[in-house]
C-alpha cells in the first residue's frame, strides 16, 4: 500500500508543477503585456489609447497588412514548391530522393535569419549575383523588402508542406487508387477523385503551419526587410525605443500578433479534428519508374527546388572560408573568420552550447513527465493543463521576450540580464512540443504493457521507470535533439533579453550582419548549420521515426 500512495503523490506533484510553470512563466508575463497595452505611455493611466492608435494610424495598420500579405504569399509559394516535390519524390523513382528531403529539412531547421542574410550577399546592394548581372548590363531589383522576405521565408518553410504532403501520399492505401482505376477512372481522374482529396487535409495543415511560422518570424524581416515592417519587427522596434517608458504600444502590437496566431491555431485544430481518413494501411502505394524525357523533367524539377533552398546555406559556408580584412572580403581562402570567433567572442559559442544543453535537459525531463500525465490520466485538471500548454504555440518569440522583460524586471522574480532568463525562454518555447511528442509516443505504447508490469507486482512508479520509459527512450531523445537545434538557433526572444555577458551565437550573427562583419557572421552561421546538420543526422541514423520527427517533435 505504501507504493501506491507514493506514486499518487508523484503524479499529483507533476501536475502541480506543470501548473506552476505555466502560470509563472506564461500567464503572468502575458497578463503583464495585456495590462500594459491598456496603459497610456505618457500619463501612465489606464486608457484605450494604444488600441485606438493602432487601428487609426496607417503606420501600425500597414505593419499588420504587411504581415498578412507576407504570410499569405509565403504560404502560397510554399504550396507551389512543396506539393509537386512531395508528389514526385513519393510516387516516382527520383534518384537520391532521400538526399533531397534531407537537404530541404536542413534548410527548414537552419536559423531563420541565415537564409535572409545569405540572399543579401547574393542579391543585396553589392550582392555577387547582382554584381555579375550588372557587369553584363542587367540591373536586378534589390532583394530588400517584401520580395526578399517572401523569397527567404518560402525557401525555408516549404519543407513543412513537403513533409506533411509526402507523409499523406505515402500512407494512402493503394487499394483506394486501385478501386478508382478498377471502376474505370483514367490516371488523371484518379488523382483528382481520390489522391488529391486524401492529401488535402495534410496540405492545408502544412499550409497553416507555414502561415504561422511566417507570421511570427522575426529574424528574416529584421535582416532583409529594410523599411518594410511586419508585426514582430514593429513590436521589437517599438519596444527597444520605448524601453525606458512603459511598453504600451509594443504590448498592443504583441497582443494583436497573438490574436492572429490563435486564429490560425484554432483553424488548424478544427481541421485536424475533421480529418478522419486514417485507414488501416495494408498496401503501401507503389513507386513508379519514369522513362525518358518525363524522368529528366521530374528530376530537374525536384533538384531545382532543393538546389534553390540549399543555395543560401552553401553560400554561407563558402563565405565563412574566405579571407577577410575587417568587414571586407579579400580574394583567397583562410580560416580568419573562425579564428576571430574563437579569439574575440569564445563566450558567445560556449553560452549557446551551455544554455541550450541546460534547457534541453529541463525540456526533456519536464516534457516527458507532463506528457505522461496528459496521455494517461484523463482527469479534468489535466485537461486544463493540456490546453494551457498550447499557449506557447501562439506566442511568437518576440512577444515572449517582451513579456519576460516586463514581468521579470521587478521583484518578486528579478531575472533580467541573467542567463536564467534566456534558458527559461528556450524552455518555455519548446515545452509544448516536447509534451505533445511524449504524449503521442505514449499513446502508441499499449497500456496493457504497463498493466502487465503492475500485475506482476511492480508499483506504478517503478513500472514507469522500468517499462514505459525504456520504450519511450528513442522518441524522447530524438525530441530532445530537435529541442536542442531550435534552442541553439533561437533569436527572436533572446535578442530582447541578452546582455553582453549572455550573448549567444544567433544574436552575434545578427549584430555582425547589421555591422557588416559578414565573415564572422558566416563562420558562426556555419557552426550553427553544422550543429543542426549533425543533430539531424543523429536523429535519422539512430532514432528514425521517419521525417515526421522533424514536423511534430
Amino acid at each position: 500500500m505504501k507504493g501506491k500512495s507514493q506514486t499518487i503523490d508523484l503524479w499529483t506533484l507533476v501536475t502541480f508543477a506543470g501548473f506552476v510553470i505555466v502560470v509563472v512563466f506564461l500567464i503572468y508575463p502575458l497578463l503583464d503585456i495585456f495590462r500594459y497595452s491598456f496603459i497610456d505611455k505618457d500619463s501612465g493611466e489606464v486608457s484605450l489609447g494604444n488600441w485606438i492608435q493602432f487601428f487609426s494610424k496607417k503606420y501600425y495598420l500597414r505593419a499588420f497588412t504587411n504581415s498578412i500579405l507576407i504570410a499569405v504569399a509565403t504560404t502560397f509559394f510554399s504550396i507551389v514548391l512543396g506539393v509537386p516535390l512531395a508528389f514526385f519524390t513519393t510516387r516516382y523513382r527520383i534518384a537520391g530522393s532521400t538526399f533531397l528531403t534531407t537537404l530541404s529539412v536542413l534548410a527548414l531547421l537552419s536559423p531563420t535569419f541565415i537564409g535572409a542574410y545569405s540572399w543579401i550577399t547574393m542579391l543585396g546592394k553589392n550582392g555577387f549575383i547582382r554584381t555579375l548581372f550588372q557587369s553584363i548590363g542587367i540591373t536586378l531589383p534589390q532583394i530588400y523588402g517584401p520580395l526578399g522576405i517572401v523569397l527567404a521565408d518560402t525557401l525555408q518553410y516549404y519543407p513543412f508542406i513537403l513533409l506533411m504532403t509526402s507523409g499523406a501520399l505515402m500512407t494512402i492505401d493503394r487499394s483506394l487508387e486501385e478501386a478508382s482505376e478498377n471502376l474505370g477512372a483514367r490516371p488523371g481522374r484518379i488523382f483528382f477523385d481520390v489522391t488529391l482529396p486524401m492529401v488535402l487535409p495534410s496540405v492545408t495543415g502544412g499550409a497553416l503551419i507555414v502561415f504561422m511560422m511566417s507570421l511570427s518570424n522575426f529574424g528574416t524581416p529584421m535582416i532583409i526587410g529594410g523599411n518594410f515592417l511586419v508585426l514582430p519587427t514593429l513590436a521589437y522596434n517599438l519596444f527597444t525605443s520605448e524601453i525606458s517608458e512603459t511598453p504600451g504600444m509594443a504590448s498592443t502590437v504583441s497582443i494583436i500578433l497573438m490574436l492572429c496566431a490563435s486564429l490560425v491555431i484554432v483553424l488548424q485544430q478544427w481541421l485536424a479534428s475533421r480529418r478522419k481518413y486514417a485507414s488501416m494501411l495494408i498496401n503501401r502505394p507503389v513507386v513508379k519508374k519514369l522513362k525518358g524525357l518525363r524522368s529528366v523533367l521530374a528530376h530537374a524539377l525536384c533538384y531545382g527546388i532543393v538546389f534553390l533552398s540549399t543555395l543560401p546555406l552553401a553560400v554561407i559556408v563558402y563565405y565563412s572560408f574566405r579571407k577577410t580584412s575587417g568587414p571586407v572580403f579579400q580574394p583567397g581562402f583562410s580560416l580568419d573568420s573562425y579564428r576571430q570567433i574563437f579569439f574575440d567572442v569564445p563566450k558567445t559559442v560556449t553560452n549557446s552550447f551551455l544554455y541550450s544543453l541546460i534547457a534541453v535537459l529541463l525540456i526533456a525531463t519536464v516534457g516527458t513527465l507532463l506528457g505522461f500525465v496528459i496521455a494517461r490520466k484523463k482527469k479534468g485538471v489535466v485537461r486544463v493543463l493540456d490546453t494551457l500548454l498550447m499557449i506557447p504555440y501562439i506566442v511568437p518569440g518576440t512577444v515572449l521576450g517582451i513579456g519576460f522583460i516586463v514581468a521579470f524586471n521587478r521583484p518578486p522574480l528579478y531575472l533580467t540580464g541573467t542567463a536564467v532568463i534566456i534558458i527559461l525562454t528556450y524552455f518555455i518555447r519548446r515545452l509544448p512540443y516536447s509534451v505533445r511528442s511524449a504524449a503521442s509516443i505514449l499513446k502508441q505504447i499499449d497500456p496493457a504493457l504497463e498493466e502487465a508490469g503492475i500485475n506482476l507486482g511492480s508499483p506504478p512508479g517503478r513500472t514507469f521507470r522500468t517499462i514505459t520509459l525504456p520504450l519511450m527512450q528513442g522518441g524522447i531523445i530524438s525530441g530532445a535533439i530537435m529541442s536542442w537545434v531550435t534552442s541553439m538557433n533561437e533569436l527572436s526572444a533572446s535578442i530582447l533579453l541578452y546582455v553582453g555577458q549572455t550573448m549567444t551565437m544567433p544574436i552575434k550573427i545578427y549584430l555582425s550582419v547589421v555591422d557588416g562583419f559578414f565573415g564572422t557572421a558566416s563562420a558562426m552561421s556555419t557552426i550553427l548549420l553544422f550543429v543542426t546538420g549533425l543533430s539531424m543526422y543523429i536523429v535519422n541514423r539512430y532514432f528514425s521515426r521517419g521525417s515526421e520527427t522533424f514536423v511534430s517533435a
Partner: protein, 366 residues
C-alpha cells in the same frame, strides 16, 4: 465461350517466382476460388486479371477478348478489396455511384442502379452516410455494391472477408454467394480459408508456390486430393509413412512402421519401398479389440470437445494422429493415456508417393 481463359501465365518478382505456368478456364457465371497459403500467388493472379500487375509471359482472355494490353481502367473487372477500399471522403451513395459516373451514365440510371445495388446488399437507407460511420461488415457491403453496380464482366474478390469477425464472415459469405447466384456474374474469389472456399465455390484451384496444384469441385478437392499438399491444406488429414513389405504381383501389400501394420492395395506401388498412408479423422472407426484387420493402436493424449464431435489426439509410435468421434457423450470418453484402437476402412485410405508427394494412380474412388 469461356468467361476467362488464362494461358501459360508466368510472373516473377525479382528472384521470387509468383506465378508459374498458370492455365485456367473459367465458365460463364461460375464462382471460382483461388485457394492457398499466403505467398502462393493467388492474389498476384487476381491482380493480373484486374490489370494491376502485368504478367511476364502468357495470355489472358476475358470473353474471348485478349486483354494483355488493356489498361486496368478499361477491363471492366470490378474488384472487392480485402480492406474494403471504400472512399473515405465520399458518402455511401457516391461510392456506389463512382464507377457509373466515370462511365458518364445519366443521373436517372445512376440513381436507379445505386438503389438496386444497395438493396441487394441490404444497405437501403444508408445512402448519405459516410464510411467512418459504418462497421467493417457494412463497409464491405458498400464495396460489393460498388463493384456490382458497374455490371462488370467479372467480379474479383481479394480475401474480402478476412478483416471481419468469425460470425460476420459466415453471414457475409452466404450473402456474397446469394448475390452472385442471383446476378449470375462470373466471380473469382481469393481466400486462404479452406472452409470458406469449400462452402462458397463452384470450383476451386488450390495453389502453392506459384503453381496450381489441383482444380476441381469442392468435393473432389476434399475427397480426391491429387497430392500431399492439397490433402493437408484442405481439411485435416493424418499421414503415416510406412515401409512396404514384399508382395509384387499380389493384390495387397503389407505396409508397416513399428507395431502398425496395414494391408494396402498393391496397384501402383510396384516401384516403391515406402509409402504415405493418409486418412481423414472423420473416416476412422473405433473398435474394441484387435480382431479386425487394418487396426491401429495408440494412447489417448488429448480430447478436444467441439460440440458435434470430440477430437482425439492419439499417440501412435511417437506420432500424433487425430481421430474424430461423432455425437460424443461425456460418459463415453475414455480416460487420458488409455489405449485406443481404431481401424481405417480401405476405401478411406489415400496413398501418396513419398518422394514426389503425388497421389498413386489407382481406381477411381466411389
Amino acid at each position: 465461350m469461356y468467361a476467362i481463359r488464362i494461358i501459360g501465365v508466368e510472373k516473377n518478382f525479382g528472384e521470387v517466382i509468383a506465378l508459374s505456368n498458370i492455365h485456367l478456364e473459367i465458365e460463364k457465371g461460375e464462382f471460382f476460388t483461388l485457394l492457398g497459403p499466403s505467398g502462393c500467388g493467388k492474389t498476384t493472379l487476381l491482380r493480373t486479371i484486374a490489370g494491376f500487375c502485368k504478367q511476364d509471359k502468357g495470355d489472358i482472355y476475358i470473353e474471348d477478348e485478349l486483354i494483355n494490353e488493356v489498361p486496368a481502367y478499361q477491363r471492366n473487372t470490378a474488384m472487392v478489396f480485402q480492406n474494403y477500399a471504400v472512399f473515405p471522403h465520399m458518402t455511401v451513395f457516391d461510392n456506389v455511384a463512382y464507377g457509373l459516373r466515370v462511365r458518364k451514365l445519366t443521373k436517372e440510371v445512376i440513381t436507379q442502379r445505386v438503389r438496386t445495388a444497395l438493396k441487394s446488399v441490404h444497405l437501403e437507407g444508408f445512402e448519405d452516410r459516410t464510411p467512418d460511420k459504418l462497421s467493417g461488415g457494412q463497409q464491405q457491403r458498400v464495396g460489393l455494391a460498388r463493384a456490382m453496380a458497374i455490371e462488370p464482366r467479372v467480379l474479383l474478390f481479394d480475401e474480402p472477408l478476412s478483416n471481419l469477425d468469425a460470425k460476420l464472415r459466415i453471414e457475409m459469405r452466404e450473402e456474397i454467394k446469394a448475390v452472385q447466384k442471383s446476378l449470375g456474374i462470373t466471380s473469382i474469389y481469393v481466400t486462404h480459408d479452406q472452409e470458406e472456399a469449400l462452402v462458397i465455390s463452384d470450383r476451386i484451384a488450390v495453389m502453392n508456390q506459384g503453381r496450381i496444384q489441383q482444380v476441381g469441385k469442392p468435393w473432389e478437392i476434399y475427397r480426391n486430393p491429387q497430392n500431399t499438399f492439397v490433402a493437408s491444406f484442405v481439411g485435416k488429414i493424418n499421414m503415416l509413412t510406412l515401409k512396404l513389405g514384399p508382395g509384387a504381383g499380389l493384390r495387397y501389400r503389407q505396409a508397416t512402421t513399428g507395431k502398425v501394420s496395414l494391408n494396402i492395395p498393391a496397384q501402383g506401388t510396384e516401384q516403391l519401398d515406402s509409402i504415405i498412408v493418409a486418412f481423414r479423422p472423420e473416416d476412422v472407426v473405433e473398435v474394441s479389440s484387435k480382431d479386425r484387420s487394418n487396426t491401429i493402436t495408440g494412447f489417448l493424449r488429448t480430447v478436444s470437445f467441439m460440440g458435434s464431435i470430440a477430437r482425439f489426439e492419439v499417440d501412435v509410435e511417437g506420432q500424433l494422429l487425430t481421430i474424430d468421434r461423432h455425437r460424443p457423450r461425456e460418459l463415453d470418453i475414455p480416460p487420458i493415456h488409455s489405449q485406443i484402437t481404431f481401424s481405417v476402412p480401405p476405401e478411406s485410405i489415400l496413398l501418396f508417393d513419398p518422394s514426389s508427394g503425388k497421389r498413386l494412380a489407382q481406381e477411381e474412388r466411389p
